[in-house]
């Protein structure tokens, strides 16, 4: 029995057994199409469809939205989503394609939308029938998120939206978007409001989605242009002018510090990339044993050995920090560890991928389009993609400001 299992309540233990049994019989197995490293890299409609089928089946089995109320499409349980996540990851399932919907839109809608809107939107979000994207960043509002220029103007009972969103992952597949925009030019923070808006159904009717190509060569994110998009007032979340407060709910969940546990599956490895263990410092040991640097086995290089151990220690420290969050007596400040999550996780992944790159020596020049590339070139790809997450969700420089100000009580930086 694992550590987590010992702590289960009877309800949770029963639910865990259900998850284990269902997963044993319903793991979708190796996919018929190529699945990228994460949902944000999805560009092939066939891959999306395969993953949507998986998400729908996991939802139907009750492994998604477990802690949401029954009225909003959940199971009405307590503390069970974390159990489903543990079991799915133990079973090395595919990830869920509706990652922004599950991780950011769902909790925001749950905490801030009208009851009828929750009941309308959440079941299809949780099942993956509807894919969601996030309309926060703009050309002039990146780290300075409150500098929103997209404007929603009230006309009668509806809102008319004009503006330009960028770096919008999954917008090319998205049915819905969570949208932060300006409703007043008088106040930077209190002039913001928050909406959910339809995308797919309104393309050509006020919505344009153009793909942006990432430095890796992959698609996955987009720019979204609004020209007189008309949105019903019921799709406004919380009060007019309360957009910043609502956005904080989204960001808290995005950074792993929210009240609801995000449904998260994953761990499946494509046959061709087996053994790569992207993102795990432990896998650097095997990589070093198989790789040559400067004509010698990388695993015999003292500097490489030291660096691998350093990252394995960071990884263990990160895991133990997550464990310590759950022990109230060992946290003098309740937000000190939760607010570190995004910063530490993303820099660690970046450094692991960078070290993998060093370990590969001359072979690190090879990319995914070369048969000889170690582990299908996935470490190289992971290193380049790692900048997506050190920049997104508030660049890590902003995260350091937040920690310095909210936890260490230092004065606010401009």
């Amino acid at each position: 029995m694992s550590d987590a299992e010992k702590q289960d309540t009877p309800e949770q233990a029963e639910f865990r057994t259900h998850c284990q049994q269902w997963l044993a019989e319903n793991h979708p197995g190796q996919p018929s199409v190529h699945i990228p490293q994460g949902a944000l890299e999805l560009s092939d409609p066939a891959a999306l469809q395969w993953l949507k089928t998986w998400q729908q089946s996991a939802y139907d089995a009750g492994l998604i939205g477990t802690d949401y109320s029954k009225e909003t499409g959940g199971r009405g349980l307590t503390g069970c989503q974390a159990i489903a996540n543990q079991e799915m990851q133990k079973a090395k399932t595919p990830f869920f394609p509706n990652i922004i919907g599950l991780g950011m839109a769902a909790p925001t809608v749950y905490f801030h939308a009208q009851e009828a809107v929750k009941q309308e939107l959440l079941p299809k979000l949780l099942s993956g029938e509807h894919i969601w994207c996030q309309g926060f960043s703009e050309p002039g509002a990146g780290s300075d998120l409150a500098n929103q220029q997209t404007f929603a103007e009230k006309k009668g009972d509806t809102w008319v939206i004009n503006g330009h969103k960028v770096w919008t992952s999954l917008a090319h597949f998205a049915d819905w978007m969570i949208l932060l925009c300006r409703t007043s030019k008088d106040d930077k923070y209190n002039g913001l409001s928050y909406f959910v808006v339809p995308i797919q159904s309104m393309i050509g009717k006020g919505v344009t989605v153009n793909p942006l190509i990432k430095l890796t060569g992959e698609t996955g994110f987009n720019e979204v242009i609004f020209e007189d998009l008309v949105v019903e007032d019921k799709y406004r979340l919380d009060e007019v002018g309360a957009g910043w407060k609502v956005a904080m709910t989204t960001l808290a969940h995005e950074r792993g510090a929210g009240l609801l546990t995000t449904p998260a599956a994953g761990g499946m490895v494509m046959e061709k990339e087996k053994g790569a263990g992207i993102g795990n410092a432990m896998s650097l040991i095997d990589l070093a044993k198989q790789s040559f640097r400067n004509g010698k086995t990388a695993a015999d290089d003292g500097a490489i050995r030291d660096s691998i151990m350093e990252l394995m220690i960071r990884q263990e420290g990160f895991r133990q920090n997550q464990r310590r969050i759950g022990v109230k007596e060992l946290n003098d400040h309740p937000m000190r560890l939760p607010l570190q999550f995004k910063l530490v996780a993303t820099e660690m992944s970046q450094d692991i991928a960078q070290l993998a790159y060093e370990i590969e020596g001359a072979s690190s020049t090879l990319y995914v389009n070369d048969e000889k590339a170690v582990a299908g070139g996935q470490w190289q790809l992971a290193y380049m993609n790692s900048f997506g997450v050190t920049i997104a969700a508030g660049a890590n420089e902003v995260q350091r400001n937040i920690l310095g100000e909210r936890v260490l009580n230092m004065p606010k930086s401009k």
């Binding site: 550590d3 050995r305 990160f318 920090n321 007596e329 060992l330 570190q340 420089e397 004065p411």
Partner: protein
């Protein structure tokens, strides 16, 4: 075996930690420690061991030395995290005492599993202090390396880098025979013992090399078993030192962020500037990573001992790096005042410099880990 979710911090352990926190807040403010140990700035001053024996007696009465002595030896039998919690609070106060050394000796004696060792543990539980004398002149932290030998049951040779040697009432000495290394308990006042104090940087400790000349000793681990006992105790020792580093690191972090909030330059408090703010956040990340690793390793000793050495070496590697980082940033961000003798920072700075190398620095721990996890390099 698996670990409890709360790292073994039950009600008793938390209560003990909170009482230690209060004890140090009441008795060991930084200015008090400073006026006590830093009264003489002369760089060539005479070597002295400064500490408050009265406070030590109070601690012994509170039962701290008994915390991790097994019940059958007359102690309380608490898990390793209890000692870790106390060491962390002692580090936060830069407390000059033989507490850390006595804990280390306690875990070595526990690993001996002999009647003679149990008897010494009983003395520790009632307040007898002790330290390990296990390092050779070349500064090896390996359990089998010692410059002390045993002939006809008597010790000869020199033990080096012995912590708190001038304070303690017992030495636990590793010594070699032709049948391997054994462990021996020696009274500092025994005939033939000469304690030669080292001049050290850390003002809150003393250190010495101890010359043994045909000294009577009590055998607590027979030849051939002493190095194994030390190896078994090593994870706990690494956790105790690392916990001291965590406590000192937290003090340095809080003191420096407080200073960055009040000291104004260019019309702003220092913490307004990201060149100061961001590295201090990095210090916090390093402290938290180390703290969680230490609790995890300490918990493993009691619950999954087969993982203990790996996890404790991880903790000490993280701690040693953080010791240097937290103290260097603290001096730097205090600016000119941080570079002076009158500022309290140097007390903790020097304790961290000393701590970082005890029982092996970060690079040493990682080299040992790499050998464990990757096999030896060709």
């Amino acid at each position: 075996m698996t670990q409890p979710k709360n790292f073994g911090f039950g009600e008793d352990e938390t209560m003990l930690r909170d009482s230690a926190r209060k004890f140090f807040a009441d008795n060991c403010s930084a200015d008090k420690i400073h006026s006590q140990v830093a009264h003489n700035y002369d760089i060539y001053r005479d070597i002295e061991s400064i500490w408050d024996k009265n406070l030590w007696s109070q601690i012994c009465e509170l039962g701290w030395t008994a915390a991790c002595v097994p019940e059958e030896a007359g102690g309380i039998g608490m898990p390793v995290v209890a000692a870790v919690a106390l060491a962390e609070e002692a580090g936060k106060a830069a407390f000059p005492s033989p507490l850390i050394s006595t804990f280390n000796a306690t875990f070595a004696l526990r690993a001996c599993k002999s009647d003679a060792a149990t008897k010494v543990l009983g003395d520790i539980a009632t307040g007898t202090s002790a330290t390990l004398a296990m390092t050779n002149q070349k500064g090896s932290w390996e359990a089998q390396d010692t410059d002390v030998t045993v002939t006809d049951g008597k010790l000869s040779g020199t033990a080096w880098f012995v912590q708190d040697a001038k304070k303690v009432e017992r030495f636990v000495v590793s010594a070699s025979t032709d049948k391997g290394v054994g462990l021996y308990v020696v009274d500092p006042s025994a005939a033939g013992v000469q304690i030669i104090a080292d001049g050290i940087i850390d003002l809150t400790r003393d250190q010495a090399h101890i010359v043994f000349n045909n000294v009577e000793a009590i055998e607590v681990a027979a030849p051939g078993t002493g190095d194994k006992a030390l190896a078994e105790a090593l994870p706990a020792i690494l956790c105790i030192i690392s916990a001291d580093i965590v406590g000192s690191g937290e003090w340095l972090l809080q003191t420096t962020t407080d200073y960055a909030t009040v000291r104004v330059q260019f019309d702003h408090p220092l913490g307004f500037f990201q060149a100061v703010k961001h590295p201090l956040v990095n210090v916090m990340l390093a402290v938290d990573q180390t703290k969680s690793l230490v609790y995890n390793a300490a918990c493993a000793i009691d619950n999954e001992p087969e993982q203990a050495e790996r996890l404790a070496r991880m903790a000490k590697s993280s701690a040693s790096d953080m010791a240097v980082f937290s103290s260097s940033r603290s001096v730097q961000f205090h600016g000119g005042i941080g570079f002076t003798w009158e500022c309290f920072i140097h007390i903790f700075f020097k304790r961290q410099m000393h701590n970082h190398v005890l029982y092996g620095d970060a690079k040493y721990q990682r080299a040992k880990l790499a050998d464990m996890l990757m096999g030896k390099a060709a």
